[in-house]
Symmetry: C3
Subunit: 357 residues, 3 copies
């Protein structure tokens, strides 16, 4: 017989407990009416910045993501014959696997580049020539590069769509889409005609330097009716927290932006707590806000949800993992479906999955 | 016309000569009756250690592997829609390609991680968080890591199955499964009601340090009726050859374990000679037993078979490659089918390939 | 509304202007009659050197490539169930993606090795053993290695076909096939019974050291009726430009080979200008012919076409990109279809795509 201690170690369960962020996407599906025409423009645009979306397109993207999440195995041939070039010049496994998983789930093929030094760039090749090469070999590109300008140079020469999966400290639009998708799965009423209480969002991070934060704040500009207040928490003064013009854009959109240094003063009234502690700068990770920690003892509202783009370190304690506050795992899971929705539109396959064309 | 010397260099044959370990798997298929219920438990277990198997499950795995080997192209859609995360943090091409080939042959999709430094671990991410990420992005994981504990940490958080493809010096269970599968393809009578002569096995290697050897000896514990004697050959004293508790486990299972320093004294009576010379320790390969060599002049029994987990170096001379003793190439080939069988069970697709469900 | 400057950056077009080398492959399709029997020998040969082809086989390969290029999505299941081992031990993204794209377009599966240090070679494994491993795990191999002899050692032990994708400074046969395919798409009359004017080709490069050039010159030996003169341009004396025996082979085939140091003297009468400036030597790229540059002001014939195997640097100026001389992008695009044709034949799937079997 097998040693009971070994038996315990090797047994596993496939199901997950419901309390950890599993609001069924069906609620969001029902909350938004399908209007596929708002997705049409996505088939002729690169995905570069959160600034390029409008509210109607966002809602349809979230609806399509919810459709995928509610029927995970149904659309497994939608991207048949399509090739994704997965180019991660800056180290990443999480985002790369998230995109590659999304593309596989829809039946497409993938070519990966994970080492910048093997590319023609080592031979002195220009990014425009790399883009022309991609035009001939694939149907869609995902790029992460610590060099902020690489994606711009490539967009100028590409005739297939590219998704910016993180360019230096600038933006990471699909992460922001996934974050907002998670919030609306939790509170689908907020995108209906009968929304409930608006949300107070506490954001622990540095908007000037963190691309995930920059992209998310921009997306929230389309939903000033959803967020009553956004409080940015870090150890800087308010006039040092933002990049040039960043705060102005948010306020012009109608968002109420506060700043605070004391996390525990903000938490008790926050409905959503978003926390991130690292930024990729130059060619290394830098930690910001070391003194801000969330754990099971933090003074969170009883029904507050916590989001984190991951990877996390000490700023988000594992003691929160088994509490109902944990929506960061759901956030990662939903990101695959969100990316499935976006990729489908980019390569003009939306007509295979929408009900009305 | 093409230069004859060039013609000779570029021409190749697809078929292989029968003498080199091509016992048709059909003999083993007939020797074991299909009893698929013994495979059921494999759909809720990680594959971590040779200790977790029982004899009935092993025989059904070998039977399913033989079924795949006898009909290599028949089940090419069995893993449709399934994603494998192939994580090889310790350098390997052989084992990685063996698993990836198995998964492709069954129609599944693959995401590879071959560079530990690109993972979140570089960002200070815990293995439990890496496991949670894998839960969201794939259906099965294969992991090789020189850090022995990594797989344990991941098993605790994974809700999809993981196969330990080598954890430091600890274990490499699927290699052992492939080794035993090869032995039973050679002598299928040994698993029937009318077995022939038992086997004397000569094992050149260091049980304390070589994970392939450790895993194989454990599996042999389920077949004390098959092996009359196992002689371990290396340059150490018997009390230094084994890790703590290792020899006791083998003897309690009814195996007769001898030790010897002189290879040429043991060879003339060995039916199976298993040889391995390297172990992965820390972060480099270490050679053991440099003075033990097998070649075509070694005093092997005329019908003895030689096994080696590969890669090999000087310890197994190429002069044996074209002799009937060469079952190490067959061992590598059969490993793909064995892994196909195991992977099929892990992701609950066995019902697509078994005759009786 | 979206900022117009952003809108401009993210919008893209999928179509390409016709002037840049888009001679429809249908012209070449009509110019060559299908005679599939000439492709039969490709199913039992490794693809090692340009020397191994004959004229009839080349024409059929070009025809099959043109068939693929004219019907890009039609044959998307031809390589179902086939596994390619894509082994690029010398840094490359361009050639690797070209092959992988070709294999994906035909519905096959791929396993990539991009880091020599992870292979058994790091464990002291021989190339013959690596080949035997490949025999068990895949159906076709593509190999690039700065070590010129690696592919020879592997061919001796492989029972599946291997394509030499560049071995040191020796050869790169599929690049040459793609180059000649491009020339014949441009001037299909040259392979008919009523050819027009022969071509004068100007080749800027070093035949002794550049594998793309070496392979291309060899292929041109089968078409002395197509090229009236080939002028090699570099900064060496004629007796230093060629490797031992290289010039003799070309002249014996009936090619008229001139040499020159002054590019601008040769250009005005060249119909085809082929330029390359780098060679891989040892384990780094070396630049040759730094003083030879082509740009929009170069004295090219008005209808001359320019070819470059890419990656390029300053020797081929981007000012030529938007001129009708630019056939180097078409060259890269056609290379995928040429590789699709060759790979189909190698794994014995030509009968799935030929009209007459």
């Amino acid at each position: 017989m097998v040693d009971p201690k070994l038996e315990e170690v090797i047994q596993f369960e496939r199901t997950r407990p419901d309390v950890h962020g599993d609001a069924h996407p069906k609620k969001l599906l029902r909350a938004i009416v399908e209007e596929g025409n708002h997705l049409a423009k996505l088939s002729e645009q690169h995905i570069f910045s959160s600034d390029q979306f409008d509210r109607a397109t966002l809602l349809q993207l979230f609806r399509l993501a919810a459709k995928y999440e509610a029927n995970p195995g149904r659309f497994s041939t939608s991207l048949n014959g399509q090739i994704l070039i997965s180019a991660f010049y800056e180290p990443s496994t999480r985002t790369r696997l998230s995109f590659e998983s999304a593309w596989h789930r829809l039946g497409g093929d993938i070519m990966s580049i994970t080492d910048r030094s093997t590319t023609g760039i080592a031979k002195g090749e220009s990014l425009r020539d790399v883009a022309e090469m991609f035009n001939n070999y694939g149907d869609c590109v995902v790029l992460r590069d610590s060099n902020e300008e690489s994606v711009r140079e490539m967009m100028a020469a590409l005739r297939i769509p590219i998704i910016n999966a993180g360019n230096g400290t600038d933006e990471h639009p699909t992460q922001a889409l996934a974050d907002l998708y998670t919030i609306f799965k939790w509170r689908p009423d907020l995108v209906t005609n009968e929304p409930g209480e608006k949300l107070k969002l506490c954001l622990v991070g540095l908007p000037a330097k963190m691309r995930t934060v920059r992209s998310l704040l921009k997306l929230m500009c389309h939903f000033p009716d959803v967020f009553s207040k956004i409080t940015i928490v870090n150890d800087k003064q308010k006039n040092e927290m933002f990049a040039h013009g960043q705060l102005a854009q948010l306020e012009q959109a109608g968002l109420q932006i506060d700043a605070a240094n004391d996390l525990y003063e903000v938490l008790p009234e926050a409905d959503v707590v978003y926390i991130n502690a690292i930024a990729w700068e130059g060619n290394a990770y830098k930690q910001y806000g070391k003194r801000y920690h969330l754990n099971a003892q933090s003074p969170l509202k009883s029904d507050a949800i916590v989001l984190h783009p991951l990877a996390r370190s000490v700023e988000l304690c594992t003691s929160l993992d088994d509490t109902p506050h944990n929506w960061y795992f759901s956030q990662a899971r939903g990101a695959v479906f969100l990316r499935m929705a976006l990729l489908t539109c980019l390569v003009k396959r939306a007509e295979r999955v929408l009900d009305v064309i």
